[in-house]
């Protein structure tokens, strides 16, 4: 401090290492906030543009073109909304999947839509209940709590193909551990993986098993952010355990719960991987996304229709999200949280 140093020492020192990186960083210093923000967004949006927005737009465009089954070109001429119309009204002659309606009188898209909505509602409901229970188990304090947390989270981190493998082994035709007993109880058929009802149940259970943990994590996070003093206040006021849950935990965790359900609903409406990996297969349980893959990779390629289904899925998800957001806003008001 007291030692006088010539002015500009700092600058000489820093000039010594002016690599390209530091020169670039210095250049960015003088950009306006607007330019700087766009510069920072550039790498991310470049990746998104190339590998997400462009393929999306490309698919979207494809959905207005005719399916061509024979010949080297898989897309025909522009047909406007015809793909959508044929999907929504009559059975597409090339889509031979059946599920709820073996007579094939119901358009395949309606079947897939009903199935997917059923799956989403049942699995998200199950995951929410189970997730809440897991979250309470993770939240409580006792010896071994860390271990219990890990054990609960692990299924969420298991690759989908392995999750499928597990349930395949449980319900394998003839030999699966649960195949026999459930058949004898008259719940499942002898070949549960090939039967629409059993297959649907297996896929739903497998999904609940894996993703309840994720739900539990989000709910737990909501619980942890509740001010713990509130519980002391409640104790002083003589609240019972149920009342503590009813009047403190639940309303305060509610927003987090909504976010968690929203995430899961988005996932469930796009269900696909678990259907294939359990061996149930898209021909038994055709979800909306199943239609996309069947149309794309199936024996008859229907690229235009596949793209149209993708767009319809996105619309379905968008509608659900809007409903959730409206509901969250409405319930926040009625809970007095905003």
């Amino acid at each position: 401090m007291e030692v006088p140093r010539p002015m500009g020492v700092e600058r000489t020192q820093s000039a010594g290492r002016s690599s390209i990186v530091s020169r670039l960083a210095t250049w960015t210093e003088n950009l306006s906030e607007q330019t700087y923000a766009l510069l920072l967004l550039a790498p991310g949006f470049l990746i998104l543009l190339l590998f997400a927005f462009w393929p999306l737009a490309s698919s979207f465009r494809m959905s207005f073109f005719e399916d061509v089954i024979v010949g080297p070109e898989s897309l025909g001429g522009f047909v406007g909304l015809e793909n959508y119309v044929s999907l929504l009204t009559d059975s597409n002659p090339f889509a031979t999947l059946t599920f709820l309606d073996p007579a094939m009188e119901t358009p395949i898209l309606q079947q897939a839509l009903i199935l997917t909505l059923l799956f989403a509602i049942i699995s998200v409901a199950g995951e929410t209940l189970l997730g809440f229970a897991y979250a309470m188990l993770m939240k409580a304090e006792y010896r071994g709590q860390r271990l219990v947390r890990v054990l609960i989270i692990i299924p969420w981190a298991i690759p989908i193909v392995i999750q499928g493998m597990i349930f395949f082994l449980l319900f394998r035709p003839g030999y699966g551990l649960l195949t026999g007993p459930l058949h004898q109880l008259g719940i499942f058929s002898q070949l549960p993986l090939g039967d629409a009802f059993s297959g649907f149940v297996i896929v739903t259970v497998a999904d609940i098993w894996k993703t309840s943990a994720f739900m539990a994590l989000l709910i737990l996070a909501g619980m942890e952010s509740v001010n713990q003093d509130l519980y002391e206040v409640a104790d002083v006021m003589g609240a019972s355990t149920w009342q503590r849950f009813r009047y403190i935990t639940f309303p305060l965790v509610f927003p987090a719960l909504m976010v968690a359900m929203l995430f899961r609903t988005m996932g469930a409406l796009r269900v696909y991987g678990i259907i294939e990996s359990t061996g149930v297969g898209c021909s038994t349980v055709p979800s909306m996304t199943c239609l996309v893959t069947e149309f794309t990779f199936g024996s008859t390629t229907l690229y235009g229709s596949a793209a149209a289904v993708s767009v319809l899925i996105a619309i379905t998800v968008g509608v659900f999200i809007s409903v959730y957001l409206l509901f969250i806003r409405y319930s926040n008001q009625s809970l007095g949280l905003t």
């Binding site: 401090m1 007291e2 140093r5 002015m7 020492v9 700092e10 600058r11 020192q13 820093s14 010594g16 290492r17 210095t26 210093e29 003088n30």
Partner: protein
Amino acid sequence: MARVKLDDVSKSYEDVVAVNNMNLDLADGEFITLVGPSGCGKSTTLETVAGLTKPTSGTIHIGEKEVTNLPPKDRGIAMVFQNIALFPHMDVYDNISFGLRLRDFPKDEIDERVEEAAEVVELEGMLDRMPDELSGGQRQRVAIARSIVRDPDVFLMDEPLANLDAKLRVNMRTELQRLHKQLETTIIYVTHNQAEAMTMSDRIAVINGGELQQIAPPLTCYNKPSNRFVAGFIGSPSMNFTPATVREGDLQADGYSLSYDTAAVEGLASREAVEIGIRPEDIYLVENESEAAEPSTRVEVVTDVLEPMGDEIFVYLKPVEAGAEDGMGSVEEREGLLMSVDPATDITEDQTVEIVFDRARLHLFDMENGNAISHGVIQGAMMDTGPGEDEAQADD
């Protein structure tokens, strides 16, 4: 070390003008304080010097170099922040040496400089602590050490003492002054606390509504405020203000009149009304009349509330028969005068007393724009100004 010069610096956000045509010229090694109420633009001014905010127009020089568009790192400045802003994930050593490490100083020199800086702020032996293990005062010292370790040309301090408790604040005030004496670096200090501004600085710049009101040594601001805002802002408790009608040779205020020297105050007779300002310590009980340089005629008032402060008593005064003439509504309007008296004074509430004003220390302000017309109304007994503005700069 360097002089700092702001020319016509303005900063506006969309339609809000935060700083309007700020001109400041700081001498090398000067300690200058920007003071004003919160939101007056003092912090924004400091940020433009730091480079954290780009001015909308105007130029800034540090030393001989124009820095208006340079990033903070190239300005040769150091800054201490109101919330102290230590990096919570680094220990004291890493916090202090952060800037040196960024500039690739050799390890030996970093060690040497950090130790030296730690010694200056008396933090030896604490270099391996984390910020959350330190007390408020210690954290503040680390922040100061972090800023002095690089030997900056200019120190910028943005309300560095605002988050400390009262006792610590006074201690740190002294330490900062000691530091300034030791380092002889130019310091720009921002505060809303006029006591800090008065005690530490060579000059203070009073800012209001984004505009510079006055820049002068503390005593000048106190004794010769350039306008009604400065007069009210500097000094605690605040100056008393009362409107008065101008008559030949005297000023007619509410319930009393004060005579003035026509020769002392040029052109006063041509005005119809002025605002009178008088500080609480320039009002005297009649028995202490002799202490006033130019006592006015006596005015009879009634004491209201007393606030014994220990070293003095604040006495709120109300006119005799308050409200009797103009009805109840007027009590608010003439909230009364505040006077400070010696703690030994024998005085009680609701007592009728006679007071005098020291006419040598009476301030007159324009009713319209608040600009000062005169400080003192008696020829030959004008306010002493303290060291003049030019002198103050030459001092250093």
